[in-house]
Every structure is written in structure tokens, then in C-alpha cells.
Symmetry: C2
Subunit: 446 residues, 2 copies
């Protein structure tokens, strides 16, 4: 009988091992994908790509066992054996002088790369890049974007674990439509009507009754017909919800601390990608918090703009509020608080001082909303009353109301749009740039 | 202007602070949900519940400021102030002698708990428990299940990060149906037909071309009509995919190492829950690997059972294979390798030694399949040929075939069913027990 016992040691080294100089002057084997081939006459430069970077390999004519330099093609994956030598002009300062090659896999015969993935900038339209996403992502800069995104999610999770949050996994196929509105995808579910969850709201509140503090980083679905640079029909929501709060300010405090932690993690573990993309991370030290109505007023005065709708922020106004707080306080972030009750969902807690407003907030980052959060109603009677006032039937929400009926601590939470947050960190102009495989009104593939 | 600067220090302590004895003989404030109230005549025991456990509070008549002991109700959340004293009969060995109470929130007037969540075992049917899930999860044992599940996912991710995997987030609304078959949920997508992803297969393979090694822990959707104790229509798949493998054995080696790491993490950080649920974790030291056809043969001989279908394993046979390797080798796990090509999807790599079989495997755990994995085809020509042989039109897979056309390393991967893995670790009899809010043919709520 054979037994599986765990990972076996491999004889190949990684590109990063070579680039740190540890193998200088020694013979090593390394595997990678052929990123570029440059024929220099009597020798060729073959640059290999792996997850951590690139390494230059020198193929001298007649000196390489296993294959001819001329037959090396972009997109092959190979294993090369050779001596590590210092070479200042090579990426990373080292190169491999190849003595032996083994082909691991080959691209299709006669295939021609439709997009120059080995170039620093691919200089092509977003549409082309998205249509060729499966290979365009092999570009060094493109893939760096999604390493940064990985780091954001890691930071979010790690920080919340340290602060006694429990990670939950809530269903995406749901019977109800918690956020209200028509922007919901419908599906047939064994003869019943079902929806795709627009947010984990109901479930994360439910789980506050169980674990006090919970979070989830998962997809949400919005059937919005807007085809803008900031809307997606499927995106990742970084959600948390916490009990035993003293007010909605606790939620903002937590978010500021999360962002601080994320940026520190990025600086520590994603330095290479930050440098590659030339990113300067914003400060989170003093994030201004301003009331919704005040913010509108300030912007209206400073930029000489009439207030059209006192109950909503237009994208244009968000941009101006962002600009105002950058100019006046040097902050890329601003919390806008006390949104009008009309524009917030039925679970938002109204401000006892003035119930036209809610104990809620948005976080704007460089003029764009990246978070919506606030305190929720925790009293059964208050929740039923607010539902009735809005013409909703409490009988449609039996499972949800159950949690209030049997007691919920004062609580609140928020949802951060991961792709938008990434977009703003990277100063991209379109949220699709920071979405691995975006879904929008006209794009369902790849 | 007000500024948000991060988390503010609170004046309350946590239940775990009290139970470690750090506050012995001192006055502290603590918040929690009223889990039980026991009227003892001149005083009452009020047990408070928070995420980390329970603490007993003593309310002596006439000695408590703020409210009467008699008015404390299950489901209230309160803040109590009192002196920490040693009490062997109290859960955790300490109790709080309360001098002051503040009510934070109250359950609905006249609400009666429909299920005894404060009992050790709720002794009720699974159906009732699921229908009352939003509050049934407040039971100490119920919630411990999902802490264990959290630990499994944490272990999976942490181990893969350490082994240079990149975390990805792939779309759940997709245009194609990669796994084949009819078990797919359909939805309307702005006038186009779309599906819910049955697995991230296509995308994780794509991302191997980008990052070499990738993983995702996310929901998958299967419109299967089976209503069994082991099927769910939405579940969490722990997926990874890795390039530059020498064979599908590398995938099994990685899984064995992941499981070892997960169980070590559980022992280290989830000791309380393991004890609460009385769980002994299985050994992963020597996991037998046996060929599909051999396994069938062995079981047929030992348990005197006729082989009905040489190309598939019946659930009954899986149970017997599990039993065989437990009896003969003392292992709760067994890798069954070389599944018949007929029963594996179009992307599975056939065994060059005999193309009726594939370089693939299932992992059985206590007689149930918890993982399917294997090596994938990486050659464009081979993939097109296998599609054609199966009557599939390669033109329907342009985006997928793009990755092979432009080169993919030899690669493979697997998907672990999180809820099934949890179920088997906990020796539960129904996968719904280890699913937070299960979705099955007849259940879409809560």
C-alpha cells in the first residue's frame, strides 16, 4: 500500500531564491513560463516568469543541452539548469547561464499572443484587456493589482480576528430581498422564486446575536442597470457587524482602525507590488466626520453650487466633498454621517434627536463612496413600527424579526466595496480595472 | 470638525478576562446577553452569554442598583457592575456579585423562547432547529460547530499563504456550465441566459497561468434534486489549483499537509470548542492511496459484495472502503485514485498508461467523499481533442481554451466540501448540522 504523507521536497529552486543572491555562483534548476525571448545572435535572453517575479536566462548557442535556443517560444513552460551569475543589467541583478533545458509544456502550435503581455504597459483599451483577461492578467503590472487586493482582504480579516470577530459564511440564494428595490437577480429554485443576495445584512445581524461580532468577505449581487465606471453587478463586499456598541461612532472607529491595519500590512508584505504600481498609500490618522446636511452646505458655499436635492448626494457632490476635505484638512477620506432616513433601508436606526436622519454614515475615499454603515434598530417593537410605516408587511420577515423578538444587543456594521476600495488606492479610473472578471450589464464573459 | 482616529478604549471587561482570574476581588463592569435566570429566593443567578463563554452573576435582593432581579429576563442585554469572586460551582470558577445593572436592550414584550437555547442539548428535531436557526445558534454547542468551521477555513488559507498560493475571487454568475450536466441554476441576466457557478474550475485554472498557485474559499451552487443527508444546493468549496506539478500526487501531498495544518490549528486555537463538542481529531500521518479499481476489488472480497458498476462508486461502497482502510490501516482517510475517465469532467487528464482512467482522485473521510481533485489537461491540442471526443464544441469555450493556446504549466488542483469536512470531523449525521443556513430542495429559509 502507498501512503500520502505531506509535501515532498523538490529539487528546483524559486526565482526569488535566485534574486536574493543565495545561490550565487552555484548550479540550480528553476521552472517558469517563458515571458520573453530576445535573440542576440550567438546567444538569446530568455526571461522566465513565476509568481514572484522574473529571471533572465542566457542560452548560448551550442551550449545548452535539451533544446535549441531558437526553438524556445513565449508561453512555453520549461525547467532550466544553470549557474547563477551577477548581471547588473538583468532584472533583479542576477541571471542564469543555462546548461540544460527540459520542456514542461507548450502553447498551441502557431499560436500568436494577441496582446503584448510581456511589455511594461500593454497600451490597449480596457475593453480589449477585459476580453483577453485570461492572458492579459499575466502582465506583471496587471497581476500586481490583484495581489494588492489580496492584501486588502487579508488585512481586513486578520485585524477582525484579532479583535474577536468570528468569520461567517451566509447563503447567497435567498428567499427575501432585504435591501428593497428592484435591483435584484431572480432565479427559479425548484419551483419557488428565489433571489441572489444583495448583501448579507439579515444574516450578519442574526449572527451578532450568536457571536457578538462577525464578518464576511463574499460576493454580493446587484441587478443595477447603470453602466458606469463605478458600478458592478457582482462584487465583493467586506462586511462586518458588531454588538454592544455605544453608538454608530464605534463602527467608524473600527473602520478607521481596519484601514490603518490594511495599509500597514500592504507596506510590510506587498512592498514589491506597491513599488511596481507606484502607489502612495493614504493617511488614516485623522479622518474628518461631517454631517450629511453640513457637508452639502460646505460644498455648496465653497464651490458655489446650488443644492438640488437635500435628501441625496449626487456623484458630483461626493467628488466635491472629497475635494473639500482634501483641500481643507489634507484627508483623502471623509465620513459623511446622519444620512436622511428616506434614503436608508428599513433596518437603519433613526436619530432620536431628529428622526428625519439616521445614525448612519458613508465613507468617501477620494470623492467616492466606498462604505455604507451605521447603527441598526435592535428593538422588536421599533423594527415592526418602522416596517409598517414603510408599508412593509412584518409577516414577510418572520425569520428576521425572530432575532429581535428574543433579544439583540445594540449593534451596527458596515459593508466596504472591495473593488472600489482597490480602485481608489490604485488611482484607477474604472472599477473594472480592479475586478478580476467583471460582470456588468453587457459583460458576462470571460 | 470631529475626527475619527481608531478604536477607543472601553471601560467594560470581557467575560474571558474574568474567567482567567485576572480581576479576582476587584470591581468590574461587563456586558452580555441574559442566557438564563434562576430565582433562588433571596437572590438570583443570572448567567450572561458573550462570544467567549458564560459568566454567572449573583443578584442579591435589595443590593442591586438599577433594576430588580425579578425583572431580569432571558434575551435582555445588560451591563453589570460587581466584584469578581471565586466560586467553584459557577461555570469557569468565578462569579460576579452584582452591585449595579444597566439595561442595554430588551426582547419583545411577552416573548417566549420557542426552543431551550440555554440547555446543554436542545433535544429537538433537526427540522425544528433549522427553522429556528436564527436563535437556535445561540446555544453554546450549536455555535461551537461554526467556530470549528471558521478554524478549518483559517487553517486552509493560512497554510496556502505560507506555501506561496495567491487568494483569488472569481465570479459566481457565469455564462457557461463548466462541470457539465443539468444540475445548474439558471438566471436571467439583462436578457441573456446566465448560470450560477458550480465550481471555480475554469477561473482557477486560468489564474494558475497568472500566479502559479491559487486558492479560493467561496460558495458554489448545484441544482441537484437529491434530498440526502450529504447534499446541499449551496455550499462552500475550498478550492486550490497549482502549477508546475510533477504529477497528481503533488495535489494529494498538498492536501495531506493542509489537513495536518488545519488539525494543528484547531488543537491550538479551538481547544475550547473541541472540548465542548467532545471531538477527537483524526490522524493524517499515513493516508493510504489506493486505485479505484483495486479499492472496489478489496471491498468486494472482504465484505462479500458484488461489483455492480465498475465505473462508479456507490455511497455504500464508499462507506465500505472507509471501513476497510480503518480496519486494515487504522486510517480515517483514504485517497482513491485513477477514477474512470467516463465519470470525470472534460478537463481531467487521462492516464497515459490507460486512458480509460484519469490522473485524479477523491479523498474519502470516514467513508464519505470530501474532496475531488486531480491533474488537468494543459495542452491545447489535447484539450480540444477531448472536447471533440465528448461531442462538445470548442467554440463554446474560447475564453477557456485561450489559456492553453498561450501556454499553461502542468497543473492540477482540488475542491474540498467545507460542510462535509466539518460534518465528518464532528461525527454529525447530516450535513445540515454543519451548515449555517442550509439550502436544499425544500429549504430556502431562514
Amino acid at each position: 500500500m502507498e501512503f500520502v504523507k505531506g509535501i515532498k521536497e523538490k529539487e528546483t529552486v524559486e526565482i526569488s531564491d535566485i534574486l536574493t543572491g543565495g545561490w550565487f555562483d552555484r548550479e540550480v534548476s528553476v521552472r517558469g513560463a517563458v515571458h520573453t525571448v530576445r535573440d542576440m545572435g550567438e546567444f538569446s535572453f530568455v526571461v522566465l516568469r513565476k509568481y514572484e517575479g522574473l529571471v533572465q536566462c542566457v542560452f548560448e548557442d551550442g551550449k545548452v543541452e535539451g533544446m535549441e535556443a531558437k526553438t524556445v517560444r513565449e508561453g512555453m513552460t520549461i525547467e532550466v539548469k544553470g549557474a547563477v551569475s551577477r548581471e547588473e543589467r538583468a532584472p533583479g541583478g542576477f541571471e542564469l547561464r543555462v546548461s540544460e533545458v527540459k520542456v514542461l509544456s507548450e502553447p498551441a502550435k502557431d499560436s500568436v499572443m494577441p496582446i503584448p503581455i510581456s511589455k511594461w504597459k500593454m497600451s490597449t483599451s480596457l475593453e480589449t484587456k477585459l476580453s483577453l483577461r485570461p492572458i492579459a492578467l499575466r502582465n506583471i503590472r496587471e497581476r500586481a493589482i490583484f495581489k494588492i487586493q489580496e492584501g486588502i482582504v487579508r488585512g481586513f480579516r486578520d485585524f477582525l480576528f484579532r479583535n474577536h470577530f468570528t468569520e461567517i459564511r451566509t447563503p447567497k440564494i435567498v428567499a427575501g430581498n432585504a435591501e428593497g428595490g428592484a435591483n435584484v437577480f431572480k432565479l427559479e429554485y425548484f419551483g419557488k422564486k428565489a433571489f441572489l443576495a444583495q448583501s448579507p445584512q439579515v444574516y450578519k445581524q442574526t449572527m451578532v446575536g450568536v457571536y457578538d461580532r462577525v464578518f464576511e468577505a463574499a460576493p454580493v449581487f446587484r441587478a443595477e442597470k447603470h453602466n458606469t465606471t463605478r458600478h458592478l453587478n457582482e462584487y465583493t463586499s467586506l462586511d462586518f457587524e458588531m454588538g454592544y456598541i455605544d453608538g454608530f461612532e464605534d463602527i467608524m472607529d473600527m473602520e478607521a482602525a481596519i484601514l490603518t491595519y490594511i495599509f500597514e500590512l500592504l507596506k510590510k508584505e506587498y512592498q514589491k507590488e506597491l513599488k511596481l504600481l507606484n502607489i502612495e498609500l493614504p493617511s488614516t490618522e485623522n479622518i474628518p466626520a461631517v454631517r450629511f446636511d453640513e457637508a452639502k452646505q460646505l460644498v455648496s458655499e465653497k464651490y458655489n453650487r446650488k443644492i438640488k436635492n437635500p435628501y441625496d448626494l449626487e456623484p458630483e457632490e461626493e467628488i466635491l466633498i472629497g475635494r473639500y476635505f482634501k483641500e481643507e484638512y489634507g484627508s483623502d477620506f471623509v465620513f459623511v454621517t446622519h444620512y436622511p432616513s428616506k434614503k436608508r433601508p428599513f433596518y437603519a436606526m433613526d436619530d432620536p434627536a431628529d428622526n428625519k436622519f439616521t445614525l448612519s454614515f458613508d465613507l468617501l475615499f477620494k470623492g467616492m463612496e466606498v462604505t455604507t454603515g451605521g447603527q441598526r434598530i435592535h428593538s422588536y417593537e421599533a423594527q415592526v413600527e418602522k416596517m409598517l410605516k414603510r408599508g412593509m408587511d412584518p409577516a414577510d420577515f418572520t425569520d428576521y424579526l425572530m432575532i429581535f423578538k428574543h433579544g439583540m444587543p445594540p449593534h451596527g456594521g458596515l459593508g466596504i466595496g472591495l473593488e472600489r476600495l482597490t480602485m481608489k488606492i490604485l488611482d484607477e479610473q474604472n472599477v473594472r480595472e480592479t475586478t478580476l472578471f467583471p460582470r456588468d450589464v453587457s459583460r458576462l464573459e470571460p
